[in-house]
Symmetry: D2
Amino acid sequence: MVRETRPIASYTHEVRVRYAETDRMGVLHHSRMFVLLELARTEMLRRHGMTYRQMEDEGWFLVIVKASCAFKGPAHYDDVLAIETTITRVTQTRIDHAYRVTRKSDGALVGEAETTLACVDREGNIQRIPDGLAELLKG
Amino acid sequence: MVRETRPIASYTHEVRVRYAETDRMGVLHHSRMFVLLELARTEMLRRHGMTYRQMEDEGWFLVIVKASCAFKGPAHYDDVLAIETTITRVTQTRIDHAYRVTRKSDGALVGEAETTLACVDREGNIQRIPDGLAELLKG
Amino acid sequence: MVRETRPIASYTHEVRVRYAETDRMGVLHHSRMFVLLELARTEMLRRHGMTYRQMEDEGWFLVIVKASCAFKGPAHYDDVLAIETTITRVTQTRIDHAYRVTRKSDGALVGEAETTLACVDREGNIQRIPDGLAELLKG
Amino acid sequence: MVRETRPIASYTHEVRVRYAETDRMGVLHHSRMFVLLELARTEMLRRHGMTYRQMEDEGWFLVIVKASCAFKGPAHYDDVLAIETTITRVTQTRIDHAYRVTRKSDGALVGEAETTLACVDREGNIQRIPDGLAELLKG
């Protein structure tokens, strides 16, 4: 069932930490890291000529089934983060990504994360990843 | 067109400021005040025997067409806010609310706000507020 | 170093999914699950007679060093979630929690999660968990 | 006391609506518009050679004392919004901004907003806007 296990494609997205994303401790709230990861993987898709919006408009949805992050150092307000996203596995119904997040100014490691997405239809039933996307993900 | 201009109903909802709602300044981020106002007005609806979820399930949507807030003092992490919500006007297609937000522990004024909601259908077209809701709001 | 490995204390916090916490798919955005978990573990602390705000005021900060969640089913707008939080391990500097999130109305499993917190001072240096808190966590 | 009443400077910031910023209705949640406005005005500052982070590091804080928005049309997921920000007034302690938000693809009006910021010190006491910033704002 697993079609691919080596890293397939990789893309680094840069994003600046917004004021509203910080918390009382003065750093990026950990929950918002997952928003930035989502941003990074959808921008990666865009770079490959596809948008996630298009996918949803055509009836394919990618839902998160697993997400984890090891937080290695703080990300402060206005820091530019470089999120290196790698597709690590694509099966008929799932896509795994790995992420390495560093602060651009000094290269400090901020976090390492992994997510698993499943492809579902409008009703939430698991379905095969559309061929076009699967091809594209396997570069 | 305006059916009602005096305050119709009023309800005070209490809600505690979450850590993730604070920002680098250590206080409730101003954008999140609008989330709490939304919470207050939907809880008010629930107290009147209706839920906003039900409304949407039946095809009526209330969209924000105007929102404003005067911020009078900081709300800190873990503060309990008392949000007094008043329906100030109901027309055939719009509902106006006014809000007075105070800190519960000492009564300090945190903010004063106003919002205008319009009733739309699934496609976003303005429609009359359903009779049941209109009755209830003017209760 | 590990002082405790069996479950120490457990607490179930109930929280309703807010409109602003849903996304275009109509369900709780996965990033916001981590906000709810934070809420659950701080409310657990409150039930044990301590507030996290107090801790921070006294110079102890708990930062997330690891967080993961397996999403088992959607949580919709207005669903009441029951978040059962268990302290699974307390070391001199770290606290592990496990969470089981279900929908209250039908008991459906929404997610299973784990977090690791580290105790740091105002400058972010690792420090021992204060004795009072350690006692309290070990029930 | 009012030093300036004509529009002083204007800057258009473009930002793409994130998935996590949409809600169950499929559009940008109204509360998040205020996050985007904040982004627009801080990016405007950056274009003028100053960062808000720098300001805070030097002990000046700008807090929101008033914010309002008229929502004119929906902003969907992945839409690029053009936020035209204008400084409309600068007094010794306050700065007013006006915003016009349009969808880039077709120029559709999404919202019109206004905010008032006050300059405070670390303790929240009103203080005069630093000369450097005042000069720059009146550019």
